[in-house]
Amino acid sequence: MLELQDLHVYYGGIHALKGISLVVEPAEIVTLIGANGAGKSTTLRAISGLVRARSGKILWDGKPIHGLRADDIVARGIVHVPEGRRIFATMTVRENLDLGAYLRRDRRGIEADREMVYHLFPRLKERERQLAGTLSGGEQQMLAIGRGLMAKPRLLLLDEPSMGLAPLLVAEIFRVIQEINKAGTTILLVEQNANQALRIGHRAYVLQSGELVMAGAAQEVAANPEVRRAYLGG
């Protein structure tokens, strides 16, 4: 479904991705873990067209997308929920969700998906008319994910959805991510919170200083002694 081939990304002189190759198959949850600064966000930003790769390929259904503008990539069904939520704070919850559906014209479908988002996150419905900036951190993360779903993605890229949230909320977010996946959306999940992310992932990659150092079934990766020591606290 999605394939990265030997992807290199630079920020000026910083070589942030040093030849990343990975695949995401339909209906999977693929987890990408790594320490702060490893290049996880950069990987997602390259896929969604926010940064350009210097070399390498990004194939979507076998076709190259690494030269496309970000809005064209959204139109092809890849939606990126960025690190730090990036909701539109001066707009209402409802307006944020509508912006998620910016490229869609099917009113009925949009309405149905809004109901679906409200079903996943009932608190968003309660706060529909509230400015997004007044929401709590957890609610903002729900809104960011809900806004992403409004684009009707085939592949959802999630960048550290559990960042800064209390444990109870983290559990809820991860539960919803699984629910979204079961409903048919493929997910590429980036996390520093490796424990939980490996639990819900089917397969996993480990990124270290811009290079993939391990790949495999999520359980195997979680069981690896080096991974346990470096990312799972022993």
Binding site: S48, G49, L50, R69, A70, D71, V74, A75, V79, H80, V81, P82, R86, I87, F88, A89, T90, M91, E95, D98, L99, G100, Y102, L103, R147, A151
Partner: protein, 292 residues
Amino acid sequence: MAEVLQQLVNGISLGSIYALIALGYTMVYGVLKLINFAHGDVYMVGAFAGFFAATAFGWGFLPALCFAMLVAALFGLVIERVAYRPLRNAPRIAALITAIGVSLLLENLGILILRPDPRAFPELIRLETYQVGPLIVNNRQLVIIATSVVLMMLLQFIVTRTRMGKAMRAVAEDTEASRLMGINVDRVIAFTFVLGSALAAAAGVLVGIYYTRIDPLMGFMPGLKAFVAAVLGGIGLIPGAMLGGLAIGVAEVLVVAFISSSWKDAVAFAILIMILLLKPTGILGKTAEEKA
């Protein structure tokens, strides 16, 4: 007292014109974080387009106004495309210097093609004055105020209700997040220039009607004052530009009436210095603490 009220009416007329120009500064700043110093010259282009529509085609007020807005919108579109878009990823100072360059280019082209001497703007609205209690109001002032109000309401509708308007607000708040929504940011920026330039052209025609004289350098001073108005209201904020424009217009007229006409142009800059010292984010802008 009646004299103050009278000057207030005059000030609101002038202020509506500043407000229309200020809107373009503030909207472009919103989406691009650029002070488009060529904006005052687009206002001049609008005034001349209205002038030629009235003199060469013999058109009346409304058709001339629409024509001017269309021509200026086209100028805005081309300026953005040719001068600013190639600098999208360049340091911000490069775009700022380019803006000043575009301004000088338009002014000097204006002098070359349109001749430097002022021209009498055709009488699109025949002057009638009315006595309202102690106040004297003329129909040109009413047309200016009414036109401004209608245009601002239209703008408000576009920005809050239409898809493009919502995209504009999204880009102004977080450009990168907007791209992740599937918004074509370049198109939104182009649209913003079209909108701002059309409003400036309307101001140009209204000024022609009010002061009856236009010239190729007419954009310089009102452009600066409208920029101050945008900063005064809170740069990037649409209601701020409206409020700032009115405030600058009223302040200018009051100072000329009650202090000295030699202070006419100094008022705006005194206000700019004060606002930068007291509340740099402008009247409606959030202070740093409120933002955090």
